[in-house]
């Protein structure tokens, strides 16, 4: 099994919390403490499979019989015949930590929560970096990674992806009836494999259902950290 390291970016965490600019010193000190606790409590795990893509009609992960709906994912995978499907989690220990702090200190709890989000992002970055290295050695290129809930790819697809990856048995991630992954700090994502380098692709807010009602955009950034 590959070993994954995670890293919390406290500035990213601050942004997730609705902060803008640089946190003041007091907040920064607390964010550093929160980041340390999260990195200690995390038990990162990843499971991945490679799937062929069928684009004849709808976009289908062939062997899995799963359809990926929406314009955005179609645009992303237009040049790919196969993709990597993966699920990454930082584990349930983080959740227990957050539950405990919820009874002690609310602002610190939300720092922990934001740091945990940053940690799972960094885990995904690590997976992506490893895959890039692996495929570039074969002269292949990867697209950006894309998750249910990004753009117009419906979040309702989550249970099917988890079940295809057998996440419950392999890495301890299950999905509730309402489509929430447990542990909550878990991500599923698709990365296209292609013969050509990806042309400019912006996840973009255009196809997002919340474009007119987004707290991030109100603060002048997107949820993925782009300054508007």
């Amino acid at each position: 099994m590959d070993n994954y390291s995670i890293h919390v970016d406290i500035h990213e965490a601050y942004r997730y919390m609705g902060g803008f600019g640089k946190p003041d010193n007091a907040l920064e000190t607390e964010l550093i403490k929160a980041a340390e606790l999260i990195e200690k409590a995390a038990t990162p795990r990843v499971i991945e499979i490679i799937c062929a893509i069928n684009k004849t009609n709808r976009l289908e992960l062939t062997e899995l019989g799963i359809y990926l709906e929406g314009k955005a994912i179609r645009a992303l995978l237009h040049d790919s015949d196969s993709c990597v499907l993966f699920c990454a989690t930082i584990g349930g220990g983080v959740e227990a930590l957050i539950r405990k702090w919820q009874l002690k200190n609310l602002s610190f709890t939300s720092m922990l929560d934001a740091c945990a989000s940053s940690a799972v992002e960094s885990l995904c970055d690590g997976v992506e970096a490893r895959l890039t290295q692996f495929y570039s050695a074969q002269g292949l290129f990867l697209t950006d990674r894309f998750s249910p809930g990004y753009g117009d790819l419906p979040i309702e697809i989550q249970p099917a992806l988890c079940s295809a990856l057998d996440t419950s048995r392999k890495i301890g991630v299950s999905v509730t009836d309402s489509g929430i992954m447990i542990p909550r700090k878990s991500v599923t994502a698709v990365i296209g494999i292609s013969k050509n380098a990806q042309k400019h692709f912006e996840i973009g807010c255009r196809d997002c259902g919340r474009i007119n009602n987004c707290n991030f955009r109100e603060n002048g950034v997107t949820c993925y950290g782009q300054i508007i």
Partner: protein, 783 residues
């Protein structure tokens, strides 16, 4: 069956999924449904394993629960009875048939949304169907959540008479995905009276051996190992050891003393046949199981091999603020007492929630559930009410202590069967119908009686603790000596662990801490193992730390040095009083806010402080937030500081017998199916800082529960939160349920995916973008 279980080794079978895939099981199809169509394939797999030497066939029913079968058009009974009969047909009397049951596939509360009763019912259906179809035993396997396995075992014990096997899947290091520790699994599940326990899946034999050793060191039960064919290649999923290597690695089971052996993922009949060959000449070694007393939660094991602190703070006796919290269903207050004791060094938490007029059993169940989510402490269920004891034991996953029984026969007969059933330890008080005897000798006699009663119910001696009772020394000075003497007698002559509530000793005296900590040291020297104390009182935990060092329990003085080496430099400096309460709140200075409020109470009433100082300070913070001068993190820090101030006021009011501060009641909840509650809790905290009485129903709350509570509490405002597009329909249903309940109230809704338009569409009165807007709405509705 009895004869089979006398064999040195009993061979189980190998993988079912691997074999079915080879036989053409398509990806994404439930194996049970595939074999319903192809019983001949299933029968040939069973036969192949039995021909290879398996003594027990596991049925193809791993996922046959109603949750996984929903929408398949098949019932649990149908699938299970078909699978069991195929296995029986293949066994033809030459082997036993085990009803195989895996996890449900949904996470239990508090991580997920599946409740105890729902999980129980899913298992019950499968178990009853399996027993009816003629299974010889039950095999729970591949569990990663100990709480779920425990519910499954309870369902088996309560609904069938079949023997039960229970195995979990561990990672390297001996924890499951959900954090359950191998020793905690062994202690907890052994206590429920199963017939064999062990490990399956996740890794190969080599990696599983250290874990089964750890389980075997704790549990006297027969052991099971059903290992994978090594580790899978992360890229193609192929397992990395062949049948001969597998058998070779598995042969270590003989020396460890494992009786039930077989294969899991990646193994096939060849593996079982090799295993059968290699074990045919092996002898199973005798095992030694440690005789230590162990208590545990799911993730933490506490061995009573030195003094362990039982935290006493979760107890309403004599604490008005605590009683008020229980009356108002303010669970967070109770749970925060658990967290602060954990941080202060408690090893075990006592839980007593007895308040006259309240439903103690239901409160006990809620608190035990909540405490397990918030801390990793083993619990001591403390009640005089047998119903509350059972509710607590049933809800707690781990090995608990029951506090308490005494020499009264009636009580022993009611409580001890529960202690036995749930595998707990028990505290016996040295008193009976006639009261507390004066002399140590008389108390010792009662202790003896309690021990023999416990043993007659099958409770192990190591799980019987005696409390020799401590009386107020100011009333009778010789009583302290009698208690100490009794502790020593029980410890030395009966060999039992002792428990003692220490603080009682100083009742009515000045400088109680001095008497308490001195008496504690004396008691520990006389053999007290489990003092019940307030770990937040530094003098008490100090006495324990010093005792452990002086009595040689702290090798190299490591723990003592770790605890105290920084003490001089970090001694709490008194909070700076150069700031005023306004600044303390706007800058989020918690300690200052608390200290300033305490001193303000000398000149102002609670209401004056709230209205003239706290609310204006919060308003100012809110305005700055709205203008974009500060952000949510800063706003929340102010709310936290204000909470500290508020807690001072609440305690003051409760102690003076006044009624709760309330500018009106607001019911708040995260809707059904949603478990995101940080946002809801921010809104709750800020609103309560404005003096509103918040009735927090938590997360994943049904529409009916919201409507019922709003009506019962006559709340004029209800706040609903949802964070997922998939849970918005539940919010709409909740609004509908509130409207059709006939209760007139305003409804505000909020959450990341919500919009003002959607709020309007589902018939809510207000859309609250953030906590600041929620305050504005509350002011408008409630004043």
């Amino acid at each position: 069956m009895d004869r089979l279980f006398e064999n040195d080794f009993v061979l189980l079978d190998g993988a079912m999924g691997t074999m079915l895939q080879r036989a053409g099981l398509p990806t994404g199809v439930l194996p049970e449904l595939f074999t319903l169509e192809h019983p001949e394939i299933l029968e040939s797999i069973h036969c192949a394993y039995l021909d290879a030497g398996s003594n027990i066939a596991y049925t193809n029913t791993f996922s046959s629960n109603a949750h996984k079968l929903s929408g398949s058009g098949h019932t649990v009974e149908e699938v299970i009875s078909a699978s069991v009969s195929v296995a029986k047909r293949a066994a033809k009397g030459r082997a036993l048939v085990a009803l195989d049951i895996g996890p449900i596939g949904e996470m239990l509360e508090p991580s997920g949304t599946l409740g105890f009763d729902d999980a129980y019912e899913l298992f019950r259906q499968m178990l009853v169907a399996g027993a009816k179809a003629g299974a010889d035993l039950i095999a729970f396997e591949t569990f990663t959540d100990l709480a779920e396995l425990r519910i499954a075992v309870l369902a088996a014990k309560e609904n069938t008479t079949l023997p039960v096997f229970a195995t979990m899947s561990f990672e390297e290091g001996g924890r499951t995905f959900t954090g359950a520790l191998a020793e905690c699994f062994a202690e907890t599940i052994t206590g429920l009276g199963v017939d064999a326990i062990g490990v399956n899946c996740s890794m190969g034999p080599e990696e599983l051996m250290p874990i089964i050793r750890r389980i075997g060191a704790v549990s006297p039960l027969p052991l099971i190992v059903k290992a994978n064919a090594g580790l899978p290649d992360p890229r193609d999923g192929h397992y990395n050891i062949n049948a001969a290597e597998f058998a070779e690695q598995m042969s270590e089971c003989a020396e460890i003393g494992v009786q039930f052996i077989g294969g899991c993922c990646g193994t096939d009949p060849k593996y079982i046949s090799e295993l059968s060959n290699i074990m045919s000449t092996a002898k199973r070694s005798k095992r030694t199981v440690s005789a230590e007393t162990r208590l545990c939660s799911i993730t933490k094991l506490v061995t009573v091999d030195e003094v362990r602190i039982i935290g006493e703070r979760i107890n309403p006796t004599g604490k008005k603020r605590f009683q008020q919290a229980l009356r108002e269903n303010d669970l967070d207050y109770v749970l925060s007492q658990g967290v602060s004791q954990t941080d202060a060094g408690a090893d075990i938490l006592d839980v007593n929630v007895g308040v006259p007029g309240l439903d103690e059993a239901s409160l006990m169940q809620k608190c035990v559930k909540g405490l397990q989510g918030a801390t990793d402490m083993p619990l001591q269920i403390d009640s005089n009410d047998v119903g509350a004891i059972e509710a607590g034991l049933r809800a707690f996953c781990g090995k608990a202590i029951v506090n308490s029984v005494n020499g009264e026969e009636e009580k022993l007969e009611k409580v001890l069967p529960l202690v036995k059933k749930y595998g707990a330890a028990v505290v016996g008080l040295t008193m009976d119908e006639r009261g507390i005897p004066e002399t140590a000798e008389e108390r010792f006699e009662i202790a003896k009686r309690i021990l023999s009663a416990c043993e007659s119910f099958g409770i192990a001696k190591k799980d019987v603790f005696i409390d020799c009772l401590c009386l107020t020394v100011s009333a009778s000075q010789s009583s302290a000596l009698q208690t100490l003497k009794a502790v020593r007698m029980v410890k030395e002559k009966l060999g039992l662990h002792t428990v003692l509530g220490v603080s009682n000793i100083s009742f009515g005296l000045p400088n109680r801490e001095l008497i308490n900590s001195t008496f504690l040291t004396l008691a520990m020297e006389n053999g007290l193992d489990l003092p019940i104390i307030n770990p937040n009182v530094v003098a008490m935990t100090d006495a324990v730390a010093a005792f452990k060092l002086l009595r040689g329990f702290d090798s190299g003085a490591q723990r003592y040095v770790d605890k105290y080496s920084g003490v001089m430099s970090t001694t709490m400096s008194p909070p700076s009083v150069s700031v005023d309460i306004f600044e303390a709140i706007s800058k989020g200075l918690k300690a200052e806010a608390k200290a300033l409020t305490q001193s303000l109470l000398k000149t102002k009433t609670e209401l004056e402080i709230i209205n003239e100082l706290l609310i204006p300070a919060l308003d100012l913070v809110g305005e700055r937030y709205e203008k974009g001068e500060i952000f949510l993190p800063q706003l929340m820090r102010s709310a936290d500081a204000s909470c500290e101030a508020f807690e001072v006021l609440k305690t003051n009011i409760a102690n003076s017998g006044g009624s709760t501060v309330s500018k009106g009641k607001i019911v708040i909840a995260t809707v059904k199916g949603d478990i995101h509650d940080i946002g809801k809790n921010i809104v709750k905290t800020i609103l309560s800082n404005y003096g509103y009485q918040m009735i927090d129903l938590g997360r994943d709350v049904s529409p009916e529960a919201v409507a019922l509570t709003a009506k019962r509490e006559n709340a004029a405002l209800v706040g609903l939160s949802a964070l997922m597009t998939t849970t918005l329909p539940a919010m709409a249903e909740t609004v509908k349920a509130l409207r059709s309940s006939g209760h007139k109230c305003k409804i505000m809704v909020g959450g990341a995916v919500l919009t003002a338009e959607y709020a309007k569409e589902i018939g809510a009165d207000y859309y609250a973008k953030d906590a600041k807007q929620a305050v504005d709405i509350a002011k408008e509705v409630l004043g």
